[in-house]
């Protein structure tokens, strides 16, 4: 269920974004003193992703799942001690 949601959010973002290849009014990276090759690559979709997950969508689902779990645990904690 989560994939269509993330796809829609991603698609909407991309569709309403100006293309990065367009010539910007400002010089992109105008302030950097390093050239782009000196910067770490940012286009690897798995970069930074924990090894036990296959995609960023799974991480986001995990976050939302954790939030729901925390709310349930807090509720149980409250009812137990009240």
């Amino acid at each position: 269920m989560e994939k269509p949601f993330y796809f829609c959010l991603w698609y909407y973002t991309q569709a309403h974004q100006p293309p990065l290849s367009a010539t910007p009014a400002m010089n992109i990276k105008e302030n950097s003193t390093l050239d782009s090759s000196g910067l770490p690559p940012t286009d690897d979709p798995r970069d930074g992703l924990p090894p036990f997950l296959n995609s960023w969508a799974q991480l986001y689902t995990l976050m939302i799942g954790t939030l729901v779990t925390l709310i349930i645990l807090f509720y149980l904690f409250m009812t137990h001690f009240q």
Partner: protein, 567 residues
Amino acid sequence: MNYLDWIVLSLTLIFVVSYGIYRSREKHTMDSFLLAGKSMPWYHVTLSLMATQASAITFLSAPGQAYTDGMRFVQFYFGLPLAMVVLCITFVPKFSQLKVFTAYEFLEGRFDLRTRALTSFLFLLQRGLSTGLSIYAPSLILSAILGWDITWTNIISGGIVMLYTISGGSQAVSHTHLQQMAIITISMVVAGVMVVKFLPDNVSFTDALHVAGKMGKVNLIDFTFDLNNRYNVWSGLIGGFFLQLSYFGTDQSQVGRFMTGSSQGQSKLGLAMNGLLKIPMQFLILLVGVLVFAFYQFTAPPLFFNKTVVDNVRATKYSAEYSALEKKHEEIQAEKRPQVLALTDALRRGDEQAIEASRKVLSQMEANVGHVRADAQSLLSKASGGDTNDVNYIFLRFVIDYLPVGMVGLLIAVILLASMGSVAAAYNSLASCSVVDIYKRILRKDNDSHDYVAASRWATFFWGIFCIVVAQYASRLGSMIEAVNILGSLFYGVILGIFLVAFYFRKINSRAVFWGSIIGEVFVVTSYILDLTAFLWLNLIGCVLVIAFAWMIETIWPQRPSSGKLA
């Protein structure tokens, strides 16, 4: 404070500052000074985000809030993980791909220079003033509890941060954040364990929670939808989402932290982990407050936790009246203790009737305590005219009165470190915006990197002095927390509105968003001056107004997009 406390306090501060300077001792470029060379792993990003958000007030006020109001404040953070998801999907890729230094740099590519300059100016104004308050708030409390001179406390705490932020820039800020969060977390856990140890021998940790729960302090979740109720699940999820999205996505003090990630993935993971860890962390801080409440059910608490105000009233004609209230308070507390022990006993036996009977009696006694405290506050207000809200003083008073020598110094260090963490990130972000958005973009376009690093150091120095001066005058602004939140609410909504238009409304151009944001800001300030709504709603109102006005202006007075623009 004891000598040992002073030694622990001094060594902790010296260690953290020296470590930060040592780890950032390289010769700096603009990248390394303002964005730590984009070299930080995700855990640095996470801890830096958390240290920036957690001010001294978080560790002073939150336990006090749990003591008086229960744990419901935790719901305020429910929107945070959702905001982190949106940031990871939308904001981080865009900022990373454009390799911007400041969030506002992106706006020039999307709109024009004046929109960038306007947003950056709004940020500088808001962040400069609120950082002054962030320095002042813990100084006020420390000076009240420990008798320190407030002017010197402001100068020293603000000055130490200037020292390592000027020296090592963003790298020093990130490295000190790591140490600060480690020391803060360990100290708060130790403080929680010690509160449990101070409970009577026959009262366990779970007994304490049961007692607090029966007295309404474990009120973590409220599913009722009520616009007048500040903390419930829905206000946390919806209101908290907008607040956290604008704070983390458009406030350079946070954008500057996640942009230090060594790659886009590291920044995203850092934000995601912040979303996962923040709520449990806030829960634990509130739990410490609830345990302090349970502790004071077995040991008589002071009638009023701010000792300085009490000492002042003793020197006035109201002294006898206050002493009478203290005596009455002590009597109620003495009557309460056997009832609390009876409740604990009934809980162990599982005797529901006895539990309910004890709970009713205790609720009545707690209400009586509330009446006496209200009378005392009204008397204190009459006598000194000062602030009679002692929520921020509850935890620190407990620390001073009960924790052993050495731990007091460590917890004072925790408060100062928490303050330094958020102030350091603020100094660095103020310097970034001043140099990148104004000095380099408008005044000196083609200087070399060393000139910009030097300018960044001077900008940090300037903002450091500015914030300390604001801190000296902050006492005239009333309640600190409220003052900080009001300041943020006046600007955050409008800034978020500009960014949302940039991201999601492709057809709206620079002229419309510029005038839309000016009109939106005027409306927000007018609403605040005329007191049309509670200030927390100004975030949402500002955001919606910018989008609505920009859309209307674009519809009525369309602007042809220039070929050179990104839009």
